[in-house]
Subunit: 258 residues, 2 copies
C-alpha cells in the first residue's frame, strides 16, 4: 500500500513512525515547512518529501491528511487528481469535507494528545474509523489495526462527541493541573508533590466509574470548606471555576427532583 502523508506535525510524525516500525513506511511526505518535512523524512529512512503540494504523487493508495483543521480547505483543491482513498485525522471535521474532490474518503481519528517531546505507544491508542463505503472502511480498519490494538468505528456525528469528550478529559483536565501548579507555586510548594494524586485520580477511573470515584468537599457539599476555599482564591476566573465545578459535582450527586 502506497501511503502519501500530508503533514509533519506531532500526530503525523508519531503515526508515520508507528507505521514505519510495522513495515508500512509512507512513500512520500509533504509539509509546507522544509525543515519539518526533512526531519520526518530522516526518521523514515529518507523517504522522498516535498513542500509543494502540487508535486505529490498521483498514484497513492491512501492520502492521509494529518494537518491543522484550518489547513484542509486550502490544501484539498491542490491535490493532484488520483484514485486513492483520502482520510483526515481530525476530531471535529466531517468526512464530507472531501466530497467535492474525490469519491473515496474517510477518517482515521486517533484519540490521544501528541507532543514533540513524548513518544507514545501507538498500540495503546484507540483509533476511530469511518469511510464513505464499506470496502474502504475495512481497508482503513486493517491499516489502523497494524499500528493500534484498539480500532473502533464511529460516524462523523459520534466523532464530534468523541472530540468534545476528549476536550473535557484531556485539555480541561490539563488546565486544572496548571491551576493547581499556580496555587502551589504562589505558596512555595512543589508541583511534584501533586503527581501521585494526579496519577491515582487517573488510574482510579480504569477500575470504577468516575461518579463512584468522586471525593472531596463538593460531593459531601461541605459548605464550610467550600466557602473557606473560595475565599483563598484571589483570581475571579479561578473562583468562578471553583464555584461552577463544585455546583456541577453537587448536582451530579444530588439530582433535582422534577
Amino acid at each position: 500500500m502506497k501511503i502519501i502523508l500530508i503533514g509533519a506535525g506531532n500526530l503525523a510524525t508519531q503515526l508515520a513512525v508507528a507505521l514505519h516500525k510495522k513495515g508500512v513506511t509512507p512513500a512520500c511526505v509533504f509539509s509546507r515547512t522544509e525543515e519539518s518535512a526533512r526531519q520526518l523524512s530522516e526518521r523514515l529512512n529518507g523517504v522522498p518529501y516535498t513542500t509543494v503540494i502540487d508535486h505529490l504523487p498521483a498514484d497513492g493508495d491512501l492520502y492521509v491528511f494529518a494537518v491543522k483543521d484550518s489547513a484542509l480547505p486550502e490544501l484539498l483543491p491542490r491535490i493532484p487528481a488520483n484514485w486513492g482513498l483520502w482520510v483526515h485525522t481530525a476530531g471535529s471535521v466531517d468526512k464530507e469535507v472531501f466530497r467535492p474532490f474525490t469519491n473515496r474518503y474517510g477518517v482515521l481519528y486517533p484519540m490521544q494528545t501528541f507532543s514533540k517531546e513524548r513518544e507514545v505507544d501507538f498500540n495503546e491508542i484507540p483509533v476511530f474509523i469511518e469511510a464513505n463505503n464499506e470496502a474502504d472502511a475495512l481497508l482503513l480498519c486493517d491499516m489502523a489495526g497494524k499500528v493500534s490494538g484498539k480500532v473502533y468505528r464511529a460516524d462523523s456525528e459520534q466523532r464530534k462527541y468523541l472530540h468534545l469528550a476528549a476536550v473535557f478529559a484531556c485539555n480541561f483536565t490539563n488546565h486544572l493541573y496548571a491551576l493547581c501548579d499556580r496555587i502551589l507555586a504562589e505558596h512555595g510548594l512543589p508541583f511534584e508533590s501533586m503527581l501521585p494524586l494526579i496519577r491515582e485520580t487517573a488510574a482510579k477511573v480504569a477500575q470504577m466509574p468516575p461518579t463512584e470515584a468522586q471525593t472531596g468537599p463538593a460531593v459531601r457539599y461541605d459548605k464550610n470548606i467550600i466557602e473557606k476555599q473560595k475565599a483563598l482564591l484571589s483570581e475571579p476566573l479561578m473562583r468562578d471555576i471553583y464555584t461552577l465545578m463544585s455546583r456541577s459535582i453537587h448536582e451530579t450527586h444530588n439530582p433535582k427532583n422534577d
Copy 2:
C-alpha cells in the same frame, strides 16, 4: 511508640495498614461504628478497639485523629487527658484546633485520594507534617518516614493551599472524567476508549509543566471549534464549564497587557 488511632474510614484504614506492615501497629482503634472498628482491628491482627471515646487509653504516645473534619469538635473534649502528641490528617483544619486540649499537637496530612476499593502504595504518598514544637515535628517526620518516601513540612497556611490545589487536581479533574463519561454514554461510545488519553494527560505533567503540555482548541483559540462544541452541549451547566475553562486556558496562554 504507642499509637492510638481515632477513626476507621478509608484514610485511617490505609494509614494503619501501612504502619502495621512496617511493624508499627496502632495499639488501639476507635470508631463510632462497631462494624468499622472491628473490621479494622481484624486487619491489624486483632488489636483492641472501642466505640466509646472516653475509653481510649491515656498512655498513648501519639493520638492520630483520622476522622471527618466535622467530627473533631465533638471528639476532642472527650479524649482522656494524656501527655501524648495529638495530630489530625485534614487538609483544611488549622493545627490550633488542638490548643484548648493539649500542649503537644500537629498535623500529618497525606496527599492522596482514598477509597475502600483501592489499596494505594503508601510509600508513594507525599505526607505533609507540622507540629507546635520542633521536637514533635521531628518525631512526626520520623514516623511518617516509616510509611512514606516523601515527607515534606508545611505550615497550616500552606496546607490550606495544598488542600485547595488537590481539589483542582483530583476532585475537579475526576468530575471532568464524569462529564466526559456522560457525553460518551449519551452517544453510545465506551468510556474505556478515553482511558489511554486520561493516562497520558496525567503522565505528561510528570515530564513537563502543565502550561507547556496544554493542547486543544482553547489554547489555539480556535473560535470555530469552540462555538461548534458549545452548541453540542445541551446542559447549561456543562456549557458554562466549557466556556469558563476555555476562557481560562486562553487567558493563561495570552496574558492581558496592563
